[in-house]
Symmetry: D2
Subunit: 359 residues, 4 copies
């Protein structure tokens, strides 16, 4: 959703206080980075059970200049906006407490992503605070931007689901894809930051370097989100590859009716031409001809592109994001900007680097 603030270069002088619950994790650190550089936020608290009183910069070396120490999550300060970057299951337990501390809660876990409790019964272990699900708005602005202004509970999307939804949404909007279309195969490649800061044997550098590792061959929970928000059942498989940041979704689509390249350009331009963070990258010359995670690493941009395979009556759609940004913390800040009526791109202007290894 593009707003006028950006179009007219508007800025806002409003300042909101913010806290980050779960500040030592990767997405917590990313939130702190974005909020510390955001003209409309003042970070007043970052919590960490294991690092109380340690500086934020000790964990996140890019934040060494930030004068902030972790505090105990049991002592939440009152803020305008509370961002929760906690493991799945924490927010649904603590949601009442969060709303006692804050007017707006932005949750980056899966806890409020699905529209109803049935999804949690099927894909997770059930929901302990289902009464909040109706109040939650899905954070992805390109999908749900019109419902974000004024939202009090924002539920960040999953990174793999985000990449997929961004890739397929224009086809759904144009009717190329629908519940009756037939098989849609989504083959995702993700970086190691998706595994979080905790790690484990499979995440250790010797075991994780150079991999193409099927880590969610079938039954990935993000399927639920995709079905909920696109109305499509997709065949979803996720591979770990050797990068740190990034998620790339390749969607193989078999439309019932032939589609031309012009149709595709029309569909994607129609969906994203006004979106400040979306780019269509499809063919052309040079090294970067299709969406790649490298090209958006560290940024809130999403790239989508496509190619026709007439011999197989197939459309191949490529979608690339930084899983920590457009797929998590950046999406959350973007949604919060819209919720609070701030300029849409505030705090999210960084455009990325070239060349870049695997940021």
């Amino acid at each position: 959703m593009s707003d006028n603030a950006k179009a007219d270069g508007g800025t806002s002088d409003d300042t909101y206080t913010a806290s980050v619950v779960g500040g030592t994790g990767f997405t917590g650190g990313e939130l702190l980075r974005l909020l510390a550089g955001h003209p409309n936020f003042e970070v007043v608290q970052a919590t960490s059970r294991s690092n109380v009183n340690k500086t934020v910069g000790r964990t996140h070396p890019n934040l060494r200049d930030l004068d902030l120490r972790f505090s105990d999550p049991d002592d939440l300060e009152s803020v305008d906006v509370l961002f929760a970057a906690t493991p799945h299951g924490v927010s649904m337990e603590a949601i009442d407490e969060f709303f006692e501390a804050a007017d707006t809660v932005v949750d980056l876990s899966a806890d409020f992503r699905l529209p109803d409790a049935a999804g949690y019964d099927e894909w997770y272990d059930g929901h302990v605070s289902p009464e909040y699900l109706d109040r939650a708005e899905y954070a992805l602005p390109e999908l749900n931007g019109e419902n974000l202004p004024g939202a009090e509970l924002i539920a960040g999307g999953g990174c793999n689901a985000t990449a997929t939804i961004l890739g397929l949404k224009p086809l759904v909007d144009e009717g190329v894809l629908g519940p009756e279309t037939g098989e849609v195969v989504v083959d995702v490649k993700v970086g190691s930051s998706e595994g979080g800061a905790g790690g484990g044997a499979a995440s250790s550098h010797p075991e994780r370097s150079g991999v193409v590792r099927p880590y969610a061959p079938t039954g990935h929970r993000h399927e639920a989100e995709i079905e909920a928000y696109l109305g499509l059942s997709v065949s979803f498989t996720v591979h770990a590859v050797d990068m740190v940041r990034g998620a790339s979704a390749t969607c193989h689509v078999f439309p019932e009716e032939p589609v031309s390249k012009r149709d595709l350009w029309g569909a994607y331009r129609g969906a994203y031409a006004e979106e400040p963070f979306m780019r269509i990258v499809s063919g052309g010359g040079g090294v970067y001809r299709y969406p790649e995670p490298k090209a958006v690493a560290g940024t809130n941009y999403g790239e989508v592109g496509f190619e026709l395979d007439p011999g197989n009556r197939r459309i191949v759609v490529f979608s690339a994001i930084d899983n920590m940004m457009k797929g998590s913390a950046g999406q959350a800040v973007h949604a919060t900007n819209l919720a609070l009526g701030l300029p849409e791109t505030a705090g999210l202007e960084f455009g990325g680097l070239h060349p870049v290894g695997s940021p």
Copy 2:
């Protein structure tokens, strides 16, 4: 194809002279490595137009102990077996010359891979020596092993095609997959050695590191091989990822009739239980639960595995090889062993390393 030589630990005292035409490239170097360590071969010549008189070890540092210098490809020595590791198009021009120099020619390019000239007209620039196509045997032993003994012209398979064929063949054999089955999506991830030693901007380390790059979104020529040898049309897309060696094919298959996990185990065991270089890796514990290129890097092994996705009536098949070995030079030596009646695994025993980054 498993032969008795391996089962009974047999060896052979026969020695064949061999030459490698195109010895500075990556697959040429790999052939030289394998042949130099092979008990039944003596390498008498390696050619290189650009490195005449330079030691082989200067280009391939793992061969520094090899007492051999590159010679001019216009002065071919008489050998028993000539291996050609030249770019596509060279062998079809030089094939008469090759057979003047050698009794057996093993070509690693695409020049004799397809069964008839029509394929070259469609996928390549036409064939200048189509009369040889009938004499050529496709090198992949698990597919064509019965026709290799005595073969005089062996045509090495493409690496991406090899990974795909190994993954899908058991399903074709069992009738799970056939020309009428419906969409088969093959999503391949390959390492940078596939681009060869020449390089270019897209292959430079700064641009190639950390990528998930769609480099053959559609229309990859290996589709032709797959169709020719499996009788299947597949929807094929290849991505470059950050590893040096390795090709991983994820095949998304939608069978018409439901298939059980037991059926799948039966199909794969039936196809590969006697194959010395094939392993079925499917589930279980630990870090390595499915096929991964890392687990076979540097070896002639292929790993295949699968998972059922009943909700989408899908079978996901994983296949992993080292593109330089099972996908090229190792496959060629394996086929030559069979052609000459040597022990099947001779010279190919290296089982790989752990841990390993991206060999």
Copy 3:
């Protein structure tokens, strides 16, 4: 050099026009990125002999939103500041032409780095415009900040020299190190972006991945800069390692008189406490205890740290920068800010990412 502008949060409304000569290279692209995001610059031209009329974003995918096409370097537009990111030797040939087009010239090559022509005779092929050497100011603000205001010709430092100078300067200032001190060993590790966009066999991904490669065992030209600006002769060796951005200098120093850790902290704080882009990182807890290129990747920050080795009467100094930023384009913009009287940190505020692979 810290100026009041930063201390009091000052900004400037001045706008300068700028051009980048040599815009397709890595440092040219980095300059374009920085200038496009700089509040006081308007980029009016980027030149490239090989990509005339192609968009800048085609080469540098992070600049896809920039509405600019490369133009011919023979048609320079008049600008306030011309940045030259051309190979060594180009600027010294074209310097008159550059000054016809611009009031201020900022050269990122080695052409004006050394203080006199004798250095070029010894380390390069001689200088064709030695009359400009006296007018040139070395760009490194922490070393030469007081001479930058008003400078018309700014000569960017070499990245390896920059890392070394930043590490050793506090010891020179305090008299711990001097011309008579004895051996100073500087062991540098650099990323692949240092080799530039051109590439070559050694820079190809298969050959460059995973290396620890001595590429300048002795006699690296940056020794000349270090000697010129620190008054020290150092034993200098450079290794290529597997990252894209980054330079890390480890300096092994043997002082004549014992030095305490308190002395070292005093020396480094004295040198850098007021510098907006320098951080002292030395010990403490967590993963990042000493300077690392990862911690400053994409930023204009430099990190320095040290450790005492009393048993060997040694000080080990660590220094880390992003070779493209603090070691090249960022340093140049920083110096230009000072030359023009702009806020010191303008356009250089990006603080980096965590986690990050090898940006």
Copy 4:
């Protein structure tokens, strides 16, 4: 030490039973790989406290064809040779038990590396079985080959010490270096496998990728070994870099008397010309002009090379090994071959791969 067995291509029909205590770690797995492929060994036991009854191939995927399950380390079987790949401190506690189970004990930890107990008091926590120190022979054949035949307790060298000793030994032998020489700076770069399989936050892929990280700035315990076996005190600093296998030592040496390149070639050829696993790589053309870990990855080879820096009266010595092989398991098997009178290179013939990422 080169023996006649290799020179005359001798082989042995003797077979020894072997066990590996600590088989789940990286060096334990490497020992199992080498012993399983060794013509003179039969592996009868591999222990692991945490993986009892699990297959070896579950942990080490390259050993999937090995028919062996881990057993409890408290139930040691009687074997000819027991290899211990346990953390430091375990073997000194269990050494009596080891010798009850085996005639020959090969320990890969630091427990018996230093020649006397004083070293353990200074660098470790003291030694609980100092009476064994006199019986132990240091495993590095190029240093201690003459004392290995018949050895009953073999103490594997440290990987960083091994790289350093191999690089400097020829200079010590020739008197270029001695206790009075002055500063010797050794700057080491190592891969992530050196940290072992356990991992931790600093070893996780997101934090460990792309690093140049000083992890032992001073006081590394391997200094003790170098001093003990070369009679030299060195200024030693170790950096983690982005590779999995490999250790590279760059030694900066300042001889009292000028040395010529011919002298250096003489010294290194004198030391290593007869050594089957040592190569001198120094200058020449192509990509690989000096020792690099990539060129020896997966092998038992060590490469050494050098360059003169007359301006600084410096010799730069480069030394590269695979830390898991020449720096640990390969060295141990090499030493055991010599201890038992087996052909020196038995089981260690693998010569490496090209290209290779970071194996």
